[in-house]
């Protein structure tokens, strides 16, 4: 997955033509792993975020509300889909190794005890990407084929 993300970033850097880029990406993924793609979420961030990669531990800290600022001091704004959304379930399971209800429980504990701010929840990937695009410091996730101009964050094991 890490190698594939690096390839995606490289291709995106080489071309500013979105349609061409999407076509190349689709071909690449169709060739590599068409089955895995359906449930695989890619982490995206607003263009103001200067971080291009995160460890799994850092990703988990961000999405559980325990890391609230980027390295440059900018506030992190987490955007997620509702618990029942298939992609949210896949993201929790594959990227966070958690279950959606576990995550909701953690956020409620932070939000209603004054220890943090709950993420913004949206009901569709389109709304999520729009929110990430328009909010400084935002981070979210989406199916690779839904991504247009958002910055992709590479997630590495360590």
């Amino acid at each position: 997955m890490v190698i594939m993300l690096a390839l995606i970033k490289r291709i995106r850097a080489l071309t500013s033509n979105t349609e061409y880029s999407a076509l190349v990406l689709s071909m690449l993924f169709l060739t590599c792993s068409p089955v895995a793609l359906a449930q695989q979420a890619v982490v995206v961030a607003n263009e103001s975020v200067d971080t291009t990669s995160l460890t799994q531990s850092e990703l988990r800290q961000i999405f559980t509300g325990h890391k609230q600022y980027w390295r440059d001091g900018e506030k992190i704004h987490v955007v997620v889909l509702e618990d029942v959304h298939t992609l949210h379930k896949a993201f929790c399971r594959e990227n966070l190794q958690m279950f959606p209800y576990q995550l909701s429980r953690l956020w409620d504990q932070l939000t209603y005890s004054g220890q943090g701010v709950t993420p913004t929840r949206v009901s569709s990937q389109e709304a999520l990407l729009k929110m990430v695009e328009s909010t400084a410091g935002a981070i979210g996730y989406a199916d690779i084929d839904k991504i247009k101009n958002e910055q992709i964050i590479e997630v590495r094991e360590q």
Partner: protein, 397 residues
């Protein structure tokens, strides 16, 4: 806390919310959330919630909170709640928390946060959001650990709290420490010393520490906590009690496990209580209570889940059946006030992402947590076997 404080807090929240809306594309400095829950409840053959086996709507919980970010490492957070739970604790509006949150620079990979002000107890599994209905597995929490009679002093303190966390590839370590005190109301004084007490009771201090371990997936959470607290009583001019004090030392073990289809929570408590004066000039008493609970929740699907639980507590580990208690009081206090065992069955329906309906039924054997052992009419407050139930609809935002 009175209505004016609640209105003041609400105005502050709404004012800050409106001022934060002018910032369009950046993370707002201010955020606010809340919840409202209303239910029906009844206790049968015991006065724990209602008297005369009445069904009541006295199961209301309302809360509104605000979080304002002053800078990258400093924020202020506060929450006001209104609670009505029948006889379980005093009805009214309370300042739940109001503290300054200071995030300190990381040291050797440890993240540190300091809370100054009125903060929540973060040392037990449910203590940090005990009043937030959608965060609890049951409306009435297991009384061995979350005893409603001492709810206000167990919930939080005025003082200082420090939290330390370390994330590694495989583990998460969390260490919490707090020192403070809580004001005690008359209801808590009466539970402690009986209705005859007319003087003033104060908590001198409460000192708590806890440590938790989790694997990186957070599937497990295992920890231990320690509490130490002293109380002082100053008798009124006309009073059936004398000046004196009490101290409590509590050791707890906590564990949670989360799986895709089920979750398990358990806590064990051992509590040493010491009394000095209060009832006679040279009165000294020392006893150890112990107990714990286990709760199992099964998630049938995204919307429906069921729960079964068992909770047990004895006031005095040397007298688990309460026989010595009955003999020492000349039969005034029946033996079943020395222990309390509860079997719970519950169901939950998540109607939509912010709406939930939760129902539960408890079958109880014993009455150790129903009423103060010093109540002169204690026998009238509960039979040996009694039960309670509740249905609560909740909404949060």
């Amino acid at each position: 806390m009175n209505k004016q404080v609640f209105v003041w807090f609400l105005r502050a929240v709404l004012l800050a919310a409106s001022s934060s809306m002018v910032m369009a594309q950046e993370e707002p400095k201010f955020s606010w959330h809340g919840y409202i829950a209303q239910g029906l409840t009844q206790s049968i053959d015991g006065n724990f919630i209602t008297e005369d086996n009445n069904i009541t709507g006295e199961l209301s919980e309302v809360g509104i909170n605000g979080h304002y970010r002053l800078s990258n490492n400093l924020s202020v957070a506060g929450q006001v709640v209104y609670l009505d739970a029948g006889n379980r604790f005093e009805k009214g509006t309370r300042l739940d928390y109001l503290f300054v949150d200071w995030t300190m620079p990381d040291v050797a990979g440890w993240q540190a946060q300091v809370h100054i002000g009125r903060f929540k107890n973060t040392h037990w599994l449910y203590s940090v959001t005990r009043d937030v209905p959608q965060t609890r597995d049951t409306t009435v929490l297991p009384q061995s650990v979350y005893f409603d009679g001492f709810r206000d002093i167990a919930l939080g303190s005025d003082g200082l709290q420090a939290k330390f966390k370390k994330y590694s590839t495989d583990n998460i370590w969390e260490v919490n420490w707090s020192y403070g005190r809580s004001p005690l109301n008359d209801a808590q004084r009466d539970f402690f010393l009986g209705d005859d007490a007319k003087g003033s009771i104060e908590q001198d201090f409460v000192h708590q520490a806890s440590a938790f371990w989790q694997p990186a997936s957070m599937a497990w959470r295992v920890g231990v906590s320690w509490l130490e607290s002293d109380f002082g009583y100053k008798a009124a001019e006309v009073d059936n009690r004398l000046d004196g004090g009490a101290s409590i030392r509590r050791l707890m073990f906590s564990m949670q496990y989360f799986s895709e289809k089920w979750q398990l929570s358990t806590e064990l408590v051992r509590e040493l209580q010491e009394y000095d004066g209060l009832f006679a000039p040279d009165y000294v008493d020392r006893l150890t209570g112990e107990g714990g609970f286990v709760q199992f929740r099964y998630l049938f699907n995204n919307r429906f889940s069921g729960l079964i639980g068992y909770d047990t507590y004895v006031n005095n580990d040397n007298d688990p059946n309460g026989d010595a208690l009955e003999i020492s009081t000349g039969g005034l206090v029946p033996s079943y006030f020395g222990y309390m065992d509860t079997v719970t069955v519950g169901a939950r329906w998540d109607i939509s992402p912010r709406w939930r309906l939760q129902a539960e039924h408890h079958w109880v054997d014993g009455a150790a947590r129903v009423v103060s052992l010093l109540d002169p009419s204690i026998r009238d407050h509960s039979q040996e076997h009694w039960r309670m139930w509740s249905v609560q609809l909740m909404y949060w935002f």
